[in-house]
Symmetry: C2
């Protein structure tokens, strides 16, 4: 019995004509995702990093050396609107975690790069982040984790699918 079941009971009383069972699964999924995001975010915040900032730094970090991407590439990889990215980059630049350079090969564009501090920070935060993720997953037994991941994979397939990259 959780908060979601409580809500379902109310609907059951008010609209007994509706089959609200799916609401339970969807509600739990959303609530769980929110709790997990919040838990992980509290980890970033200890380093004065917002989820938005973490997202950008992590994207630059996993792009590999020299830890540079154009704003357009960051927009594509993080799937946010252009104004959002400009805002994120402004804040990260203000605190010296990234720097923007003009792109010498294309006067329209620029290059966003991790600074030394940005690289050091994200490398440290990502370790804590992964440790936190391990901790959160402890809630499930190993076989449950596998079951869950299977279900998520199948369901997510309803929305996105990527062809495997060929190993050159």
């Amino acid at each position: 019995m959780d908060q979601v079941d409580r809500i379902l009971q109310q609907w059951g009383r008010e609209r007994p004509d509706l089959d609200v069972a799916p609401m339970g699964t969807l509600g739990r999924l959303k609530r769980l995702a929110d709790h997990l995001s919040e838990d992980l975010a509290s980890g970033y915040r200890m380093h004065d990093l917002t989820p938005a900032g973490f997202d950008v730094l992590a994207t630059l970090r996993r792009a590999g050396k020299p830890y540079e991407l154009s704003p357009s590439a960051l927009i594509a990889w993080t799937m946010v609107a252009s104004g959002t990215m400009t805002n994120r980059l402004d804040r990260l630049e203000d605190v010296g975690l990234i720097e923007r350079r003009r792109n010498p090969e294309d006067g329209r564009g620029s290059v966003v790069a991790l600074t030394a501090r940005g690289l050091a920070l994200i490398d440290r935060v990502i370790e804590e982040h992964v440790a936190n993720q391990h901790r959160l997953l402890q809630a499930l037994a190993p076989d449950q984790r596998a079951q869950l991941d299977d279900c998520l994979r199948v369901w997510l397939g309803m929305f996105e699918r990527v062809e495997a990259p060929d190993s050159a």
Copy 2:
């Protein structure tokens, strides 16, 4: 292979020292929750309802007759900040889906009630909403749904737990 696996591959190359398997599950969970929320929201939007507005109307509706709650009760049930609720109520009142009356028994408080239009709208939207939820769950086979729901229940238990209401 999905977007999340793509990201994991990058991390695997860049930080082979980290065990990023949990990132896959957590990433898929979050992305799936986002896709599902967006899909359902597109249903509300057809009726000029935001997720925020839907949340309030649905809460009033499932409270049962006479479909009235105080702002405080709405805040408690929806778990948003007080300023958020004021804002939501302002907008719903502007379009005539709810009305605010002073509480005759407590001059500090007020009572928020569904209007006739609000009630008709939420009753219709909730049916479509439930139908959409059924559609979304079709992605999983029945036994997978049960498995998934079990996992979600267990994991959500890490964050919230409610004692079963006694059946008087």
